[in-house]
């Protein structure tokens, strides 16, 4: 039971994917799409599992006060802050408009919102007496009336319905027109606009709604880019120490690396002109023929290995992915 059912599931899933390749018509391509969707959902939960494992490891480090446990606190705090901001605040880019800033009030008043009768600017939605106020006052007014001013919107939801002709017994696509009253606050949120008046409220809103994008843009990309660029230094140091032409194989490796490094920068052309060789073209030839031969061999080898392993998995011969009892 514990082994047989998973192997059966693997077999069925694998065969459906393969059959779809030869019979691309209904129902196989639909089942194939569903299967791939389910695959992605389960894979996403596998990632959740990985994150849980990370949390578990570091919380044990903190509770047992192992070496460098303080950094585990940093890890867990940043993980939780980022996850909360991402899941609850959304991952789209938001615009934060300060209702004490004249330029931003102008920007807000000119923003168009989708309403039931087309697009209207925020300014057009203000009552008559409010439109007569100065822009600064309008900003303060809007902020105080965020939950009161309403906007009527209509969402078109795709559904299906029975064909009106009783003789035709199939369904046709249709639209459900969902008319609803939204407060201005909700309508602006749909356009990814958040209003604030500075201070602590702004910081909290910024964290919850904009924290994810901000951290991604300035923290994640900086750290990731720098981590990878560290490799440039280590590669140079390793090349100095270990890249010696001890054997024929090592010499070939070195020469190929030389030609690629020199040929792919301007110095290749300059050096070539000095020596009398077209180094960039030699580099191109080396890339197109010997290097391609080697890479082709690796590519075909890996593919053959992958195909045979996939076949073994689908046929139930290979069971190692199920782990031990």
């Amino acid at each position: 039971m514990k082994y047989r059912v998973p192997i059966l599931i693997t077999m069925i899933a694998g065969f459906i994917m393969i059959i779809r390749e030869f019979i691309p018509h209904e129902p196989f391509d639909r089942i194939d799409n569903w299967l791939q969707d389910w695959y992605m959902v389960v894979a996403a939960f596998a990632i959740v599992l990985g994150i849980e494992s990370l949390l578990h490891l570091h919380s044990r480090k903190i509770s047992f006060k192992r070496k460098d446990w303080q950094y585990s606190v940093v890890l867990i705090v940043s993980l939780l802050l980022m996850s909360i901001a991402g899941i609850f605040g959304g991952i789209e880019d938001k615009t934060f408009l300060d209702m004490d800033n004249p330029t931003q009030i102008t920007e807000l008043l000119a923003t168009e919102i989708d309403t039931i009768d087309g697009k209207r600017t925020v300014a057009q939605m203000l009552p008559a007496d409010a439109s007569a106020m100065s822009e600064q006052e309008q900003g303060a007014y809007i902020y105080s009336q965020l939950k009161t001013i309403t906007v009527e919107v209509e969402d078109k939801i795709k559904v299906s319905t029975r064909h009106p002709d009783p003789k035709r017994k199939y369904t046709i696509p249709a639209l459900y027109l969902d008319r609803k009253q939204l407060s201005l606050k909700q309508a602006l949120k749909r356009q990814q606009i958040i209003l604030h008046r500075g201070g602590l409220g702004y910081l909290l809103k910024f964290y919850l709604f904009g924290g994810f994008q901000f951290s991604y843009q300035y923290i994640y990309t900086s750290l990731m880019g720098t981590m990878f660029s560290l490799l440039a230094f280590f590669v140079a140091s390793a090349a100095y120490r270990a890249f010696k032409a001890r054997t024929l194989e090592a010499t070939l490796l070195l020469l190929a690396a030389f030609f690629v490094m020199i040929g792919r920068v301007t110095f290749g052309t300059i050096l070539g002109n000095v020596i009398g060789l077209d180094i960039p073209q030699i580099t191109d030839w080396i890339m197109n023929y010997p290097v391609t031969a080697g890479q082709k061999a690796i590519m075909i080898g890996i593919a053959l290995g992958l195909i045979s392993t996939s076949l073994r998995i689908i046929l139930g011969i290979e069971k190692s992915y199920l782990g031990r009892e």
Partner: protein
């Protein structure tokens, strides 16, 4: 300790400093070394040059900001080239962050065309951004059946039916070229497998320098029209379209850094051989 021993035991921090200076100094004081286009990039340029105005090109942004230094200039140069030739560009993304990068590149290119050719390009008529769709290869396969079913709305939430340019782009049969700019998985191999080979569509692949050697067989096999690899590839394309940008500026640093590493390897090998000779002499003396 003589020079040879000092070189053998060289503190790696000196090497780090050398690399830092080799990359940093040209960024502050550019030399302006010329960039010579190579065959893999020229074939892509020539292909686009031969496309008639009004053709449809799908550009897929399959990377995130961590690969931006290499891939953003590349995508920008290609879109500038396409727009400059009056070719209709539709961008999409298989990586979540790609959609925003595509938007940035489209806006920059539109401004560039306005500044250089004086033409005003209109969203929806001349170009569009379909945004991100999760699904990796399912998306690629699904586009072959119907673009509108795969992307019911564009990046800004507008229904596809309301976008002019997409009325002419039903599925791959209406698309004349696929360009993919990718930093990994999903990326060039998937586009080659599920669109290029499956639907017989020309594909131009842009990739980071790390992936370029593995993708070379696709180019050598003509499964890819062109393979634009790394910052150098981007700089070469910028040179071909005569619009030098960030990639070309970075090439000075790239050249000097490469030269530094080559010199380090040569010095390393010279010290290795001299040390070997020294050991041999010592052994002979001991005998």
């Amino acid at each position: 300790m003589n020079l040879l021993d000092r070189l053998i035991k060289l503190d790696r921090r000196i090497i780090f400093l050398l690399i830092f200076l080799a990359v940093g100094i040209p960024l502050i004081a550019p030399i302006g070394l010329p960039v010579e286009p190579s065959q893999p990039i020229e074939s892509g340029y020539d292909f686009i040059e031969e496309m008639p105005p009004g053709s449809f090109v799908l550009v897929s942004y399959d990377y995130d900001p961590s690969a931006r230094p290499e891939l953003y200039p590349m995508g920008l140069a290609i879109i500038k080239h396409l727009m400059g030739r009056g070719i209709k560009v539709v961008t999409m993304a298989l990586w979540p962050a790609g959609a925003k990068l595509a938007e940035e590149a489209l806006n920059e290119s539109v401004q560039y065309i306005k500044d250089t050719q004086g033409r005003e390009l209109e969203y929806g008529r001349d170009y569009a951004n379909l945004g991100f769709m999760a699904g990796n290869q399912i998306v690629i396969v699904s586009l072959g059946k119907s673009v509108s079913k795969t992307f019911p709305n564009d990046f800004y939430g507008t229904p596809i039916e309301n976008i002019n340019i997409l009325n002419g782009m039903k599925n791959y049969s209406n698309i004349d070229l696929i360009v993919t700019i990718s930093a990994g998985d999903p990326g060039v191999p998937y586009w080659v497998m599920y669109a290029g080979d499956a639907y017989d569509k020309p594909v131009i692949g842009g990739c980071t320098a790390v992936s370029a050697p593995q993708l070379y067989p696709y180019f050598a096999n003509k499964q890819l029209v062109s393979l634009i690899g790394g910052l150098k590839g981007a700089a070469e394309y910028e040179t071909l379209i005569k619009a030098p940008g960030k990639a070309s500026k970075g090439m000075d640093s790239q050249s000097i850094a490469h030269l530094t590493i080559i010199l380090l390897i040569i010095v390393g090998n010279i010290t290795f051989f001299l040390d070997k000779q020294r050991l041999k002499r010592l052994k002979r003396r001991m005998k």
